[in-house]
Amino acid sequence: MISSMDSPPSPILSVEHVGVRFGGLVAIADLHFDVQPGEIVSLIGPNGAGKTTAFNVMTGFLRPSQGVVRFRGTALAGLQPHEIVRLGLSRTFQRTSVFPDDSVLDNVLIGLHRRTPARLLDTLLGRDRASERRLRAEARDLLDRVGLTARADEKAGALAYGEQRLVGVALALATEPAMLLLDEPVSGMNASETRVFVGLIRAIRERGVTILLVEHDMPMVMAVSDRIAVLNYGRLIAQGPPEAIRSDPAVIEAYLGQGSAAREAAMRAAQASPAQTSPAPVSAALEASHA
């Protein structure tokens, strides 16, 4: 087990001994970790490890059976999803990341909901023209940031899967988050799209947004993360910088299972090349399990 990095005193997000049980099923046993401001942290683990459940707890879609999540010091217990967004914690979704029947531009306009104080009365009296114009300009800026300007007028539901992910990111950014939770953002993207997306994540971080990522694309996770937390059977089994995670025996075990042929092959390969400092076979195995 790798001990976590030296932590500055005030994390932006802290997950404190959170557990989630559905009847007798334990989705999350006891999850405990912090994210520091400005970090890019990845949450990885085999399917069913509880990653999306953890996201749902952090964003108010699920009530934890135990423990508490704090965002910038505020306990999120009992807050509705739309109230949590207003605190500056925003998320994207794994499967349905768009409003399918609206144009891409209208999607972002819906996402900008919290940005204007427009009152209903102003709307009815037609006094919201100026703020509507400002919103449109802002929506186009956001589309430009995620590289979807050319798609602005197309129906979001008709976009390719990878582009729908980008719409989801634009929607999340529209809420001006201090921290962004991305749920498998590059699934359905090809290698070059993924490369562009990594650039986008870094650009978002440059603007001071903290990022927590759930992702199966290991090369992407290794490339972009400052720190990785590994979840298995609802427990954190390791956390640390990518290099440490690559060679962590508990992680390899979680992904490949003890005694599996693949694991033995990985170990043999590692022994066969002792001179190699980076444990490439392990990361190869990690990647293979998700290919």
Binding site: P46, N47, G48, T59, F61, Q80, P81, H82, V85, R86, S90, R91, F93, T96, S97, V98, F99, P100, D101, D102, S103, D106, L109, I110, G111, H113, R114, T116, A118, L120, T123, L124, G126, D128, E132, L135, D153, E154, K155, A158, A160, Y161, G162, G168, L171, A172, A174, T175, S187, G188, H216, Y255, G257, S260, A261, A262, A288, S289, H290, A291
Partner: protein
């Protein structure tokens, strides 16, 4: 190409304006035909009800099967305000109300219906869906039973009679009481136009986007900070208030109302108007309202009443069979490809194909990746 994909399939502004002009000129040719004028007025009133129902059903996806309750509350509150009443409400307390001008009745009817919309919304929108449907049905039934049994206030089945006609007063210009059919026709047309403009403005605004977002993808809407309960409740209030306005017009036009204004069948008629015309479009309930409101009138000379209802049903089935999304989106779909055929070749079709392909490809590509983690055995093979 961009217009083709516009989400709400709003017809060009020309169509509503042409329809409005046509409706405004209609009485010139019909002044001598009170039967037809009467049919147009009641159709217009029901159409306003259908527009209000569409705000909920079409734009938020919530089905109010007790919508007639708001209509009836508007009718009764408006009638009682202008008739006055003297009732004992228990413990020896008497409430006496002197008659007020009918215009106040209209405003109070709208407010009372809106208030009921708020209550129903607060009660049921935390759960939504089927729950809302059931709450609205029950509410309509409760209100109908109150109207039927609180005889001292409502006269029960004996009906409230002698309801005064609505009057329009402009300070310094005198006032008119709207007694003739033509006057009532224009009043209904004016209120209907106002409701249409209100809905159009709402739907095109930030508030309308919040409603659409909730309908299309509720989780995502919540995650961009949209307050679902508040948005749906506001929509219910506006919708109920409009239905109340229609009810008030109804009471002051017919000058007599009984608990039958709460009949479930009238809600069904409004739902048919919305669904047949095209829910979620601005013009849908207007077109649907005119078609299904005037269909019995057109059929009356040629067949018996029982047969009329059969044809009514057949027409609805035929429309939904040919145009599952309703008349307005269906007709718009027919007109647009023809228009586009004259234009230079558009890439939209190719795009759609390419997207579908990419979409399928993405799906196929995503799935093995997503499952492989759970089946490390495959790494061996």
């Amino acid at each position: 190409m961009t217009r083709l994909l516009s989400p709400a399939l709003l017809p060009p502004a020309l169509l509503p304006l042409a329809l409005l002009a046509g409706l405004a000129l209609l009485p010139l040719g019909l002044a001598a035909n009170p039967y037809l004028l009467n049919a147009l007025i009641t159709t217009g009133i029901l159409t306003i009800g259908a527009m209000s129902l569409n705000l909920l059903l079409g734009f938020t996806g919530q089905l109010s099967l007790g919508h007639i309750a708001f209509f009836g509350i508007g009718a009764y509150v408006s009638a009682l305000t202008s008739l006055g009443f003297d009732v004992e409400i228990g413990f020896g307390v008497r409430v006496v109300h002197e008659p007020w001008p009918a215009a106040f009745g209209f405003l109070l009817g709208v407010a009372a219906a809106g208030l009921c919309g708020w209550l129903i919304g607060r009660l049921s929108f935390r759960v939504r869906g089927a729950y809302f449907v059931i709450v609205t049905i029950s509410f309509a039934e409760v209100v109908r039973l109150v109207a039927l049994n609180w005889v001292e206030l409502t006269q029960g089945p004996l009906a409230l009679t002698g309801i005064p006609a609505l009057g329009l007063g402009l300070p310094g210009l005198g006032s008119w009481t709207l007694r003739t059919k033509v006057q009532n026709y224009y009043l209904v047309l004016a209120v209907g136009t106002l409701c249409y403009l209100l809905i159009a403005r709402l739907v095109g605004s930030r508030f309308g986007r919040a409603m659409r977002g909730l309908k299309e993808n509720e989780s995502l809407a919540l995650s961009v900070g949209i307050n679902a309960t508040r948005t749906l409740t506001v929509a219910a209030v506006i919708s109920a208030a409009m239905a109340g306005a229609a009810g008030s017009l109804y009471a002051h036009y017919l000058r007599i109302i009984d608990p039958d204004v709460f009949l479930f069948a009238t809600t069904v008629t409004m739902v048919i108007m919305v669904v047949g015309g095209g829910k979620g479009t601005l013009m849908g309930p207007v077109v649907g309202g005119l078609v299904f409101g005037l269909l019995p009138v057109a059929l009356r000379p040629v067949m018996a009443p029982e047969a009329q209802w059969i044809v009514y049903g057949l027409v609805l089935i035929a429309i939904l069979f040919v145009m599952p999304r309703g008349l307005v989106p269906g007709l718009a779909g027919l007109i647009r490809p023809r228009r586009a055929a004259g234009a230079p070749p558009r890439p939209a079709g190719d795009h759609a194909g390419a997207h579908a392909g990419a979409h399928a490809g993405a799906h196929a590509g995503a799935h093995p990746g997503a499952h492989a983690g759970a089946r490390p055995v495959e790494v061996r093979s």
